[in-house]
């Protein structure tokens, strides 16, 4: 440990907060202030009822000026609540904000103890330790770095599109990367959207067109993000361009290639309910409007093997020699809008797994409802094309099951099931629609009214009970349910069953998120910085979240969240330069032996080894001041600013002395 030269004694002001009765009800705050007033370093000591109030803060400002204080301790609630408040007050008084210490005597003391005498003694110890620390606090200046005012959006569904437009409309450049041949996500596959019954394509395609034509948006479809390095405001992104084998600038959508292609494969856009060719247009309104050649299903990209599509292309747009390329872009912020997938039916063996063609999930039913779908909008069942006279809708398929599947509620199923049942009744008026539910969750605007219409006007029968088993007998699907409200077992012979499968993390995205080191929760959804107060930011600085990648939600919420994420990006870009907390852990070159232990401890990859000098170098912008490296460093070369080993030891001595 290095010995520091004796500093001029500090003039610290101590303010002990009552916090109403939260603290004062257990801790004798007056006594604490009194006992500390003669401690070395303390020049002023008082207590007050609410320090965070305007008069409380004004008291700090005035006292700093009057008593020429160069350090402040506020003994109050957790620093996560008001540290910034008091730092700002200090700054207004002309004191460096990093001379503020918060002694937590609420969450750590008054809220967890009941013995008043002991709690007061504990409060005194806590404050004493902070005095010891404050005596060694230094003035610090926030770290500043430039911001690259370009945004990267990963995902071209409605959330990605909305965020892209908002950021671009602010005046910033946007790069939108979408891994599929066209933008539109899942929303473009939907037929009608609740609660307005708007045609999904009709409301989404204008946004798609706007994005494709926006002067500040660079649209990169059939591209994938390969890696991101750097830090907030200064990211370097490697983007992989998958070869389309069709030049999108030349393709005029004449469709001749499709006609002659001999390879037929299930059409993913129609959820496998119809077929497409290896060279295909995903859907009529696809943007960009171009054919794409699916190399995995193509006979061989070789005129010797086939070459029929190339032969008939007037525009000479088809080129088998296209290769995968990688480009690099530099951006300042990233919005992750990678969407969702539906839980696999295979997991529900009691509903037949994937054995029965006529047991479909919500997206398959949307395609059946859609005018541009495999049945032209006529409701027909997949197995034999017959019009179903009885459809059973099963909610909570895979959701709300903490035992074997997913414990959470997928939020949108109650509404879209009501919508599906309503649409069925409209198109097949003599058809029987039955919905098995446990609850009906309709929290959004006009949602409950919509559900009431389904029940009262369209006379859909809602039965409260979770279906136990679905199996096929002859031509029909037998559904075993129960009506818990009347206490009767129910058995239905249906022509078709629609399962409201749980919403899960998007397939194949897990690897990308791991690569990007973006935090996810246990279900693979993006983790927000704070569930209530910071819902669109990731804890990884510079990354923002939007849409179902963050968790199940409907379109209104998705759009709202996307705009919110864009606003947060705007916050970032509006700053002249980025300011980062200076309480980081720099490296003392003289003491560093280059052992590299701290590298393995850092969760933010802020530290690297400089091979030339044999010492560790820290990128202060990436460092979040967690202190793990400082704890691990065997030589003491890693010392956190304003939380050095010396300071910590003096805090301990102060607490343990009496």
């Amino acid at each position: 440990m290095t010995t520091k030269p004796k500093l001029k004694e500090k003039r610290i002001g101590l303010f002990v907060c009552h916090c109403g009765v939260n603290i004062a009800g257990v801790v004798d705050v007056g006594k604490v202030a009194e006992q500390l007033k003669d401690t070395p370093g303390v020049s002023f000591s008082t207590d007050y009822v609410y320090m965070c109030s305007d008069p409380g803060q004004q008291m700090i400002i005035d006292t700093i000026k009057e008593k020429h204080l160069d350090g402040i301790i506020v003994a109050a609630c957790s620093p996560t609540l008001h540290e910034k408040t008091f730092q700002e007050a200090a700054r207004l008084a002309g004191l460096n904000p990093y001379q503020i210490e918060i002694a937590n005597i609420r969450e750590q003391d008054s809220w967890v103890h009941t013995d008043k005498e002991k709690a007061t003694k504990k409060a005194v110890k806590i404050v004493k330790s902070h005095v010891a620390k404050a005596r060694q606090n230094e003035n610090l200046d926030p770290i500043k770095v430039d911001v690259n005012r370009r945004a990267l959006i990963i995902g071209g569904g409605v959330s990605g599109l909305q965020a892209a437009m908002d950021i671009a409309d602010h005046g910033y450049e946007v790069i939108l990367v979408e891994k599929n041949p066209s933008i539109g996500g899942k929303m473009i596959q939907l037929s009608e959207t609740f609660p307005t019954l708007d045609c999904s394509q009709c409301i989404l395609t204008p946004k798609m067109v706007e994005v494709s034509r926006h002067p500040r948006i660079k649209l990169l479809t059939y591209h994938e993000v390969d890696s991101i390095s750097g830090f907030v405001g200064n990211f370097k992104v490697r983007i992989k361009k998958r070869p389309r084998y069709v030049d999108e600038t030349l393709c005029n959508l004449c469709g001749e290639c499709e006609k002659v292609c001999p390879q037929v494969v299930p059409d993913e856009f129609n959820m496998g309910l119809s077929f497409r060719k290896a060279i295909y247009l995903p859907f009529p309104q696809a943007i960009p409007g171009t054919y794409t050649l699916d190399a995995e299903n193509c006979l061989g990209l070789n005129p010797v093997r086939c070459g029929k599509c190339k032969d008939v292309c007037d525009k000479k747009a088809i080129d088998y020699d296209m290769k995968e390329t990688i480009t690099e872009e530099e951006v300042g912020a990233v919005v992750v809008a990678t969407g969702y997938d539906l839980y696999t039916m295979q997991a529900l063996g009691e509903y037949g797994g994937e054995k029965y063609d006529d047991v479909v999930n919500g997206l398959e039913f949307e395609r059946i409802l859609s005018a541009s779908g495999p049945t032209g909008g006529e409701i027909r069942r997949p197995s034999d094309g017959k019009v179903p006279r009885s459809i059973v809708f099963v909610q909570c398929s895979g959701s709300r099951d903490s035992e074997k599947h997913l414990p959470y509620c997928s939020k949108i199923c109650c509404m879209y099931t009501a919508k599906h049942a309503m649409m069925y009744r409209h198109r097949v008026p003599d058809g029987q629609a039955t919905v098995f539910y446990i609850d009906v969750r309709t929290g959004g605007k006009s949602f409950d009214e919509f559900y009431m219409r389904t029940v009262e006007e369209d006379k859909v029968l809602y039965i409260r009970g979770k279906v136990s088993k679905i199996f096929k007998e002859g031509d029909k699907l037998i559904v075993w349910g129960v009506d818990t409200l009347t206490g009767k077992k129910v058995e239905i012979e249906a022509d078709m069953v629609v399962l409201a499968m749980a919403m899960v993390k998007a397939d194949g995205v897990q690897d990308l998120l791991k690569k990007l080191k973006i935090a996810t929760d246990i279900h693979g959804f993006l983790a927000e910085a704070h569930p209530k107060l910071r819902p669109v930011e990731s804890l990884n600085a510079g990354f923002y979240l939007a849409g179902c990648a963050h968790g199940p939600k409907d379109i209104p919420e998705t759009v709202a969240q996307a705009s919110a994420a864009a606003a947060k990006v705007g916050d970032l870009f509006a700053q002249k330069e980025l300011v980062h907390e200076p309480t980081v852990v720099p490296v003392n070159d003289e003491l560093c032996s280059g052992c590299g232990i701290c590298l393995t401890m850092c969760p933010y990859t802020a530290r690297t080894l400089d091979p030339a000098r044999g010492v560790v170098v820290v990128n202060e912008i990436l460092c979040e001041g967690c202190g793990a490296c400082a704890a691990a460093c065997p030589s003491g070369a890693a010392q956190q600013r304003n939380q050095t080993d010396d300071q910590i030891f003096s805090m301990l001595r102060a607490m343990l002395r009496d």
Binding site: L348, G349, E350, G353, K469, F471, K472, E473, G474
Partner: protein, 310 residues
């Protein structure tokens, strides 16, 4: 190969077909079955309340006997016995209180030495040393389907058989840990290995009515009817079972079923071990076909014994 075998009281008395066909079949697979000395009834029901600990004594005593005779596996064919033995074994491993109490009950028990027949008391706690296996698991994992296939003497020509698991083999899923209760493959793979065609039907794990056939016959009649009907609808020529109670409900009580459900023409019920024995060339006179109320002879027609290479 020698292995400990637990027939259960029912197999020795009322449903000898299951026992005989098991022995004959395993003989052909070079497996010698050894019954643990002095075994007793397992108790038929695994006690479902936390306080009925005495009910665990009998199955654990059997398992302990197997251990003391040097065995580490106990094979059984009866589903009820299988469930009781396996769950009792697990209960002792999962719950320290049960472990303590049951072993305390048994400490004063009398142990019989298999060679000298000497009787002693006071011996080591049972700590889960024996693994309980259903014969189907034993055939798949320890004997192996390849050996079965190479010993097949009769070609069953893909005879359509509906495998009936019943309740006890697959459920509760975590305790039995045999296969996925909704889409199991164990029985199907066995049928394919012996040359039958396994019929997929949705009632393969639905209850046959169990002991309700005595206390509330109508309920059990309906339950068994639904199983048989589903098997028939899906093309099965017979239902294969692994439990004497399922056999009783679906074979012995088939008259009652036909009376209640006039549209049901009937369907033979066999034990899976009868199929195994037959495929392995065992003479039909030792299959126990006389015990069937619904004639199953039609499935076991004598054809020239040929070597079938797979």
């Amino acid at each position: 190969m020698k292995v400990h075998y637990y027939p259960g009281c029912t197999l020795k008395q009322k449903t000898t077909a299951l026992d005989i066909s098991t022995r004959e079949a395993l003989k052909r697979l070079d497996v010698e079955l050894v019954e643990p000395e002095g075994w007793t009834c397992c108790g038929a029901e695994y006690p479902l309340t936390e306080e009925k600990i005495a009910g665990l004594a009998a199955p654990i005593r059997t398992l302990r006997q197997v251990r003391d005779e040097g065995g580490d596996i106990l094979v059984t064919t009866c589903s009820f016995c299988f469930a009781v033995l396996k769950r009792a074994d697990r209960a002792l491993q999962d719950d320290p209180l049960k472990h303590k109490r049951v072993n305390a009950y048994l400490r004063d028990d009398i142990q019989i030495d298999p060679l000298t027949k000497a009787r002693t008391t006071g011996f080591e706690d049972y700590n889960g040393e024996v693994k309980v296996l259903h014969l189907l698991e034993f055939l798949r994992d320890r004997v192996g389907y390849p050996r079965i296939r190479e010993r097949i003497k009769r070609d069953l020509e893909g005879l359509a058989i509906a495998p009936y698991y019943g309740c006890r083999v697959l459920r509760p899923r975590e305790e039995m840990a045999v296969d996925d209760p909704e889409s199991p493959r164990l029985f199907e793979e066995f049928l394919e290995a012996v040359g039958c065609g396994a019929v997929d039907y949705p009632f393969k794990q639905e209850c046959c009515g169990s002991y309700l056939s005595v206390s509330l016959p109508a309920a059990a009649t309906e339950a068994s009817y639904r199983v048989l009907r589903s098997a028939r609808m899906n093309g099965a020529k017979a239902v294969a079972v692994t439990c004497p109670l399922c056999f009783y409900n679906m074979d012995h009580r088939q008259d009652a079923i036909k009376e209640a459900y006039l549209d049901f023409p009937g369907l033979p019920v066999v034990y899976f071990t009868q199929l195994l024995a037959w495929a392995l060339g065992v003479d039909r006179s030792v299959l126990g076909l006389g015990e069937h109320r619904v004639p199953a002879d039609g499935l076991f027609l004598e054809i020239p014994a040929t070597e079938v290479r797979t």
